[in-house]
């Protein structure tokens, strides 16, 4: 876990509102002091777990290789220790309104661009309607407008709204239904440097364009607590078990830190 106590941090009311209205929030330099260590551990996990890396090739990524390492943070106490970090705690509590669940998260090495899509797929879709869930993404390489920066359609995450429904239908095959390339879709382009935290709602439409080389990224998934609603809890757990064989990985599963336990107790198996 990060050893030194970081500076106090809290989201402002305006930042919380910005996130809920537009579906994303960028916090520049939030982990700039730790990012070298974070990147080192990310690389080590990829190097030490070659058999568990999924080489994924999908139309969303234009058939280019994406190396996924499921439950990446769970495998390293320093990385999952971020869940107890006051900055992640402040983001989680600020945006969900209280204590929160950690959602199984992965590491990615992308070799190309990503067409428009949302991250609201199973088991995420098992959460109740209107539930707040989001990713705190850390890009480990500098991303520029011309070179693969994250693109997001502000306001595309409002569940059930006409705009969201239209976008989800329209962008089901990327930007092709509008006879344009992904770059032709109106959006915010979020340039980032290692150390920035990029938070976005799982339901927001997002893409990347112009990737040069590879992009390393991992995230911490956060969701509102289910407040002991056993039906949802069982449904979500079984979704993860069915799809990934587990919810959380060792050593996270048996972590004793109280703040971290609070993040995993509801969905742990």
């Amino acid at each position: 876990m990060p050893s030194e106590s970081p500076k106090p941090f809290a989201l402002t009311e305006a930042q919380i509102r910005f996130f809920h209205v537009f579906g994303y929030l960028k916090l520049p330099g939030l982990f700039v002091d730790e990012i070298t260590e974070i990147a080192k551990r990310f690389d080590a996990l990829y190097e030490n777990n070659p058999a568990e890396i999924l080489n994924w090739e999908h139309a969303t990524h234009y058939g280019k290789n994406r190396k996924i390492l499921c439950n990446l943070p769970d495998r390293d106490p320093y990385l999952y220790g971020l869940l107890a970090d006051p900055r992640i705690q402040a983001i989680g509590r600020g945006l969900t309104g209280g204590s929160f669940n950690y959602i199984p998260s992965e590491g990615n090495i992308f070799s190309g661009d990503t067409d428009w899509h949302t991250d609201a797929y199973n088991p995420i879709l098992k959460f109740p309607e209107g539930h707040v869930y989001f990713k705190i993404a850390l890009y480990l390489d500098p991303m520029t407008t011309q070179g693969g920066a994250f693109r997001i359609i502000p306001g595309s995450h409002h569940h059930g709204s006409q705009y969201t429904q239209m976008l989800n239908k329209l962008l089901v095959n990327g930007a092709r239904n509008l006879a344009t390339k992904a770059e032709g879709i109106p959006c915010s382009i979020i340039e980032s440097r290692p150390g920035d935290a990029l938070i976005f709602n799982f339901r927001a439409q997002h893409a990347t364009c112009g990737t040069i080389g590879t992009r390393r990224m991992f995230y911490l998934g956060i969701a509102q607590k289910l407040n002991d609603n056993i039906n949802y809890i069982n449904e979500i757990k079984s979704g993860y078990l069915k799809q990934f064989g587990n919810v959380y990985q060792e050593p996270l599963k048996h972590e004793s830190n109280a703040l971290i336990r609070e993040c995993i107790e509801e969905l742990n198996t």
Binding site: A14, R17, F18, V21, F22, I153, Q162, N177
Partner: protein
């Protein structure tokens, strides 16, 4: 002749705006000259606006603008304009307004739908006559903010008057699409879309033409109320020149609003009918 592709019509429906670069490039010089001449020839009709929507910077506005000059009036029967109006507002669209503007400063986030019939499609065609970049006052729009009655649209309406306080960012950092333009481009947007301009560095000339869907019976009374207010604010909807036009593309697309205006005038007790 269809100017817009099906995909462009869909883009407009989803995002609420379209940018058509260079559509009027061949005649832009004569359009610019006509704009300047109308402004020069009608000093008494200029309205000098000092309004908080423009941070109290001066905006010169002239209603019924294109109707003051044959060349600009002809835009109403130009196949490029009529085709786009038909694609976006239906074959029986109404021409309902035009204004000329010289903006001297920025414009806060706002919609142009004040006083209009709710949940009815109004579309504005904008001709910017000076090159405008992101850092010199280009139009900014929030895609998707035009969907009336939807959460995103409503919440934006509630908070955008104070972006710094509500969102922690200045107006120009509100997530939006910046539409940089070169004279000859046409921008089309839904009247309900949130838009603004930031970082203006010189006066910007712009005129617009407004179209609306035909009003169905169920919306006629709302349309009359809207027109009555408009007449009270800016005078008659159309100028004499346009009323005398024998051009079918003009005559056919002013009839409904003329009829509704007649009722509105009666209600205003002006004694005028036509």
């Amino acid at each position: 002749m269809n100017i817009l592709t099906e995909e462009q019509v869909l883009f407009f429906k989803v995002f609420g705006f379209l940018h058509l670069p260079g559509l009027f490039l061949p005649e832009i010089q004569s359009i610019q000259d006509a704009f300047d001449k109308v402004i020069e020839d009608h000093p008494d009709e200029k309205i000098e606006h000092l309004h908080e929507a423009h941070y109290n910077a001066k905006r010169i506005m002239m209603p019924r603008f294109i109707e003051k000059c044959d060349l600009l009036t002809q835009l109403l029967s130009d196949p490029r304009i009529t085709s786009i109006a038909q694609s976006l507002c239906g074959e029986d669209y109404n021409y309902f307004s035009s204004d000329g503007n010289i903006f001297s400063g920025d414009t806060i986030w706002h919609r142009d739908s004040y006083g209009l019939v709710r949940r009815h499609k109004y579309t504005k065609f904008l001709f910017y006559l000076d090159p405008i970049k992101a850092d010199s006052g280009a139009l900014r729009v929030i895609p998707g903010s035009h969907h009336q009655g939807q959460h995103f649209s409503k919440i934006l309406h509630d908070i955008l008057s104070e972006p710094e306080q509500q969102l922690g960012v200045p107006a120009k950092e509100v997530p939006s699409q910046v539409v940089e333009t070169t004279p000859g481009d046409l921008i089309v947007f839904d009247y309900n879309i949130q838009h603004a301009t930031c970082d203006s560095r010189f006066p910007r000339r712009m005129f617009s033409i407004g179209f609306t869907e035909y009003f169905p019976e169920a919306k006629k009374q709302q349309a009359i109320d809207s027109i009555r207010q408009r007449v009270a604010d800016y005078g008659r909807i159309y100028s004499e020149a346009i009323l005398q036009s024998g051009e079918p593309a003009i005559r056919d697309h002013i009839q409904q609003i003329l009829a509704l205006e007649a009722i509105a005038l009666q209600q205003l007790g002006s004694g005028e009918s036509q």
